[in-house]
Amino acid sequence: MTSGLPLFFVITVTAIKQGYEDWIRHKADNAINQCPVHVIQHGKVVRKQSQKLRVGDIVQVKEDETFPCDLILLSTSREDGTCFVTTASLDGESSHKTYYAVQDTKAFNTAEEVDTLHATIECEQPQPDLYKFVGRINIYLDRDEPIARPLGSENLLLRGATLKNTEYIHAVAIYTGMETKMALNYQSKSQKRSAVEKSMNAYLIVYLCILISKALINTLLKYVWQADANRDEPWYNQKTETERQRHVLIRAFTDFLAYMVLFNYIIPVSMYVTVEMQKFLGSYFILWDDDMFDEELGERPLVNTSDLNEELGQVEYVFTDKTGTLTENNMELRECCVDGHVYVPHAICNGQILPGAAEMDMIDSSPGVDGKEREELFFRALCLCHTVQVKEEETVDGIKRGIHQGKSTSFYISSSPDEVALVEGMKRLGFTYLRLKDSHMEILNRDDEMERFELLEVLNFDSVRRRMSVIVRSSSGEYYLFCKGADSSIFPRVVSGKVEQVRARVEHNAVEGLRTLCVAYKKLTHEEYEKTCRLLNSAKLALQDRDKKLAEAYDVIEKDFILLGATAVEDRLQDKAADTIESLHKAGMKVWVLTGDKMETAAATCYASKLFHRNTQILELTTKRTEEQSLHDVLFDLSRTVLRHHGSMTRDTFSGLSGDCQDYGLIIDGATLSAVLKPTQDGNNGGNYKEIFLEICRNCSAVLCCRMAPLQKAQIVKMIKASKEHPITLAIGDGANDVSMILEAHVGIGIMGKEGRQAARNSDYAITKFKHLKKMLLVHGHYYYIRIAELVQYFFYKNVCFIFPQFLYQFFCGFSQQPLYDTAYLTLYNISFTSLPILLYSLMEQHINMDILKRDPSLYRDIAKNSLLRWSTFIYWTFLGVFDAMVFFFGAFFLFDNTTFTSNGQLMATNTQMMFGNWTFGTLVFTILVFTVTLKLALDTHYWTWINHFVIWGSLLFYVIFSLLWGGIIWPFLNYQRMYYVFMQMLSSGPAWLSIILLIIVSLLPDVVKKVLCRALWPTTTERIQTKRQCLTAEQSTIFMLSQTSSSVSF
């Protein structure tokens, strides 16, 4: 009963929490399952509950409605068979995407017409990739032979997306329920557990062992002691007949269990509830933090899990993405280079473009007629080769951006900010992309003339090819293929053009930290175009391996280019990114940048963000170097450099702080990395490479990994996680390509940026700006860690204090499992007498002011490596608990044993000597216990707000009031009245007061002395700063004078 109640409490709290969450989920489920859907049956629109939707139903969706399942678009209210959809709830991209109806069905516009349609659809098995779909529709028009049409992701409307700017659509359901892509993407995240939780569990095992050994020892001693029958069963204390007849083994076993029950409080069950509550409530401080609120986006940070709060204070490795994380992902065209001539468009001021084309400056030499033609072709290429959409002003109110020519205001939307930057840059250079209308792209050239190009094919961008192409037909009937992409993917495919000049310029720009793209084109004859078309169509129609076939087709088509030029887009560093990185460095964290960008660009960003300093010695481990030497040699070379220096450093400068010593930066690219990680054939040094590489990394303060595929990012994180120190890793990124590493790292942080919400959704915490990471780690992480560390240690401590006297009491009560405390005290100790102060402490404690924490990142090193939960600390706390318990027990013991412990009964009318029994003994111990553990916490509190005062003094007061009440009444529902007036009688005795005061002071003394001595003799950085701050408050001097006077008095 007494031990069951706390357990019951714990289970109830958990059950209520889970039940509440389930109920919310159930409500949400119902709302979705029962929301009405319009289905076409027999030519009529019928309402149906969405849970009754079946595959093959034809659904009508109206504007601003959400698609109930995955649908194939058949027809829309628009004539061209397109509809606009926003997938904001799926990936966070709020831009409108265009989806296309199947060409042959777009005429079936009304419900009746749709009903007459006969078609079958073949599609692949459901799979989670949102952007991939292959299928085929066979339409049986009047003829027998069906027409087969390919279906791609452009025909597939995803559940969860919303219809926009389109009156209604008709579509056929193909995946429903759990088979929809949205449902398949509900990836159950693997449970992440923090280092604190791991040490907590380790401690728990230790305590479990202590519990079992205590019970075993007592059981054993009991039977040794009871060997004498007069002890086992003296005349005054006979057993019942049934007890006597029980087998000795059964008796021993029940005794063992009884001891387990008696001592089970040493396992702090309520700690789990408190930890849960602390984490849950504590995470609100991140949400509430004003410094982490983004005015621009109007977004607060997101806390997706509160389980990892304290892990934020333990981070040793930070893996960060570059684009959108370190940089703004706010692109701006800085320059373009056509055949070596450099054009710099004028800077835009607040989105307003300085008018006129005369702003082109920095033209090296006025190009000739030929050059002029090339130049204009280059601009047209950039105007045409993109997937940008134009958003008319009417649809969005309030924001006016990209104003043009007074005709209609519009702005560009694209999934890639680079493209927007390019198209906007082109506008400033005189070529304005107007719109895509009836498959014709309209652009306005420098002379304000409208040029129309028919858009024939778009060869979409993908990260493998790293380029995209369009095929257009000009009004004069010429076919062009324009291609833009990364230099590495364009140059090998170029056959003519001023490759050298452009390459030089591209490299120059890359070093500057600009993102470069190359543009190339080729002219196609009609026959070539036809051939291309066939190639593409056959690839698109393929049901299996469509992607592979498309890639092959693209490979064939995109070659023999003529190089036009290159562009450079600047991606500005985020606000205070450099400052943040510097702070992280000072806090002892290693920052790795993992990016898909090319080495030069990434390295430039690293310099700009102070990841590399001017005196950082850069070690390169790139394909370029491994081409010259074998990988083996390079690795050994590098490790020798690093280790030699490391060795000399440890000899010369003994202080571990790497303030002025040489630090290293490593640059590695994706190809080399996979070579390093790949197990070699000969086996014997396969693991070696990895080891050497890790060794090098460990000695580098910063590492840059460029040309990384998303999976490689996760691989790196995994590798570091698995290295022998098992460091705590943090991954931060904003894009879908960072999701894998965010999921892999101990702590995943998403940035709510421009590249959608995928990273934020999969992260543990999401913030709006990279700079917020500083406060998140240095302040919140630090606080969370010290709070939870104290919480864990304190819980074990207070339960040792609680239970150890009971253990000692067994030696004096004939090992009979007699509890020392009353049932109510046993039950309420953890639930109410000592629960709130520690919970509030673990929410409010600030051992150092947060401004100091932010200003002085090196304080973070003080808590690194789980330092507050080391075994030595744990043992210290446990021994402190044992010591305190001994003080409580033997203090009370000697008072009771040495002589009559009596009350002089002044509360009572007569001046009598009253005897105290075992319950008074227990109550005395318990009173000292409650006061000591609460005051111990008070001594540890560095930040006394009114809440702390209220809770600490309040729970002591509550204890007293409760005891008075509990002992003050004959409780009718109880079998026992053993506590009746016990507490009052105790308080009416002078020696009880004196001994309570004495024993509390004695048990607190060693901890105070230890703290003071440690602070005076071996202060940590944290303590130094605390003391220093105190010096500044000038109260120090008065105290010192006070102590001087008091000491002089005493001498």
């Binding site: 109007g298 002089n904 000597q913 003394l1005 102590s1043 000491s1047």
Partner: protein, 365 residues
């Protein structure tokens, strides 16, 4: 303790700045309270040698006098302990203890004489003490029925199961349970031997030895005018010589509210304990309660303890404001006070030597 009050006034300032933001933004902006920003005004004490020093000296200075006071008071208390178990053949009670049998009808008596070399001035308290008697054994402690003792008639007829095996002896046992069954039933009488040899009985007061609340609230006789009638359908505890309604002739001290019984029912915390037996009231200010001289203690030996190697003793003690004789508390206070004082000195030394060093190193940083 040194402290600094760190009241943050940024609250108002910050909310002022948030007013500049657009209304749309403001709705999602977190509220600005000092609590949410973790900037509540707070007292931030730090335990350093400097701050703890005065506390140590103060504790030392307060504790040592208290300890001395306690020690002196405790030493002034007079106490005499007389063991009468009768384990040794020389002991007057040897025969009684040796020949003890539960069935004997005639009480065995033994007489012990002792000499008080100092008079006991104020009220004297008379205790009996038992050793090696496990009144705190779990089986023993729970073997009682509080509602029966509170006069509940149902419990009188059907005592609680906890009382097993002292629950029924054909009829329900009242008072049931092991505690009641093993009630101490030796009779102790004290006589002062005048210098001329006459034997004067010393008046022993048997009321006012139990807690007032126990006597008046917790323990109650079952309703009924006649105790004998009330307890008619019950059996006496197995080891008792007399039924519960014959514990005393005084109706105010009979049955469950017999104070000897109540005192016994308050189970002792430790296997060696003493319980208050009688009070010897001071007669007047002129003569001491117990003058110097020869005394005899007459014991009616009913209570066997030798089977479990127990000891019985009689204690006479005076009391003070702090209760009975208790040197431990005084010594403890003196010790702790001295340790605190000593630590204060050590800390002063450390503070002088290292406190300055820390400060200077901070400044150099």
């Amino acid at each position: 303790m040194a402290a600094s009050y760190n009241a943050k006034e940024e609250d108002g300032h910050l909310s002022g700045s948030s007013g500049l933001g657009g209304t749309a933004i403001r709705t999602r902006k977190p509220d600005n309270t000092a609590f949410k920003q973790q900037r509540l005004p707070a007292w931030q004490p730090i335990l350093t040698a400097g701050t703890v020093l005065p506390a140590f000296f103060v504790i030392g200075l307060i504790f040592i006098p208290i300890g001395i006071g306690l020690f002196v008071t405790s030493n002034n208390i007079k106490e005499i302990e007389i063991e009468y178990t009768g384990t040794e053949t020389s002991s007057p009670c040897f025969n009684c203890s040796h020949n003890f049998s539960w069935n004997s009808t005639t009480p065995c008596k033994c007489v012990l004489s002792f000499f008080l070399d100092q008079p006991f001035e104020s009220n004297v308290f008379m205790y009996y003490g038992l050793s090696n008697f496990y009144q705190n054994h779990r089986r023993y402690v729970k073997s009682r029925d509080d509602s029966q003792l509170n006069g509940d008639l149902n419990s009188l007829k059907d005592p609680s199961k906890e009382c097993e095996p002292y629950r029924f002896n054909e009829k329900p046992i009242a008072p049931c349970g092991a505690i009641a069954n093993s009630m101490f039933n030796d009779t102790l009488d004290l006589f002062y031997i005048d210098p001329n040899g006459t034997k004067n009985p010393i008046p022993l007061i048997k009321k006012g030895i139990a807690w007032w609340t126990d006597k008046h609230v917790k323990f109650r006789n079952p309703a009924g005018s006649n105790l004998t009638a009330v307890f008619r359908d019950t059996a006496k505890p197995v080891n008792w010589l007399k039924p519960v309604y014959e514990l005393d002739t005084d109706s105010e001290n009979n049955g469950f509210i017999n104070e000897d019984f109540i005192v016994w029912m308050r189970t002792a915390a430790l296997p060696t304990f003493r319980k208050l037996y009688r009070i010897i009231q001071k007669k007047n200010n002129m003569t001491p309660t117990l003058p110097r001289g020869n005394y005899t203690l007459e014991v009616t030996y009913n209570y066997p303890v030798r089977s479990f190697e127990g000891r019985k003793r009689m204690i006479l003690s005076t009391i003070s404001w702090m209760g009975g004789k208790n040197p431990f508390l005084g010594i403890a206070y003196i010790t702790v006070g001295s340790i605190c004082f000593f630590l204060g000195v050590v800390l002063l030394f450390i503070h002088h030597k290292y406190g300055n060093r820390n400060n200077s190193s901070d400044i150099s940083n």
